[in-house]
Amino acid sequence: MIEKLIIGCLIVLLYFDYQSIKQDNKSKKIYLMLSIPAGYMLYSYLTGRNLPNLDDGFQVIVGPMAEAITSWLQVK
């Protein structure tokens, strides 16, 4: 319960923060751009953290390379 209350407070804080920069058109756009991943992660958090995240993304991009290097470096 307290978790959801804190998240609610954060959303209110972000709303007021957004209002304070709203007059700057470019800043407003960047702010909204950053809100998209924030919204996605919030949704992910509230639904059990099962959605793909940044770590999974990096895993796809550099995972095979990392695996090859690590297995070479590890002494069995």
């Binding site: 972000l14 923060d17 800043s27 702010y31 940044l54 990096f58 390379m65």
Partner: protein, 364 residues
Amino acid sequence: MHTGKISYWQMAVLFQVYMTGSALINIQGPMLAAAHNSAWFAMLLANLVGFVILSLVLTLHNEYPDQCYVNQVRLTVGNVMAYIIIIPLFVVMLYITANIVYGMGQYFTTSMMRETPLFIFHLLILITSSLTAKAGIEVMGRMFHLLMYILLFIFIIMLILPYNTYEITNLLPLAPLGFKPILHGVYVGFGFPYMDVLFFAMIIYLVKQKPGQSINKWLYLGLFINGIVLTLTILCSLLGLGPLVFLKKFPLHVLAQLISIGEIVERVEAIFGIALILGTYMKISLLLFILDQALSTLFKVKAAHFINIITVVVFLLSLTMYKNEIELGESGSFLQTPVTFIFGFLPLLLVVIVAKVKRKKKTA
């Protein structure tokens, strides 16, 4: 772009707390797991790699002393390339900041406050850090000065007090499995903490330039001290704990538990917790400031507009990326190095080469 200016000494202090801050607690576990008994030697070698990264960063700084890394990239390889290089780097910085936040929360939930939910630690440290980052570089320069002394004092006490547990034979054999584990240690150290030097390039220009003086020697000295401090923590963990050290995620915490002087000074690991909070708080404050700096300079908008939203993104990233400490451990020692190498080091190398070629053409 942020505009506040700080002195050489303050910049050196910020660099020191930035490099040593969270690494003081988080590096021993992964380094010992990778390099075993020779972890302290691997740490020294990783520090040498840090010098290479710092020299690349300072080459660019000397070329464009009044610009942050984003503008240095823009002036060297053009606007479009700046977007291509900086946006992935920004994402990597978010990822690393979230990892550091998670690392701190994990330390508390696994060793000191097991019943407290993880998000409480994340939230509190991020709120404090974002307020500090909003206050600006001058405030951080002044405030972190004192905090650095406290941090170093705790560090010295933590290493001196368990002297009666130190056994020199615990260091032997030095490299029982050959050179590969040492290389593995260097590989881990490259990703964390030494690639973080690159992110600091976003704020080096905020130093007040004095004729005939340079920030370079201060930063090199800072990096050298950082290497010595981190090596000492690993060395003392090995000396005090012996083979037990490889089973522990936070060896310094266990070392602090061993402190017992005349039954008066005992169980001082809470002080170690204070050092952990201080170090992490300073590092995250600087990283949030750097993230805001990167974004505002890239999109040419007023600075300090995005600290709150960046803080929330980091908070949510730290809550959603990992389900447990094992996932963080895997990601930290397995993924962080290739990620920072591809999205941080390679572009930096490219920009430095282009800047050098451009300069040669200009002088020819």
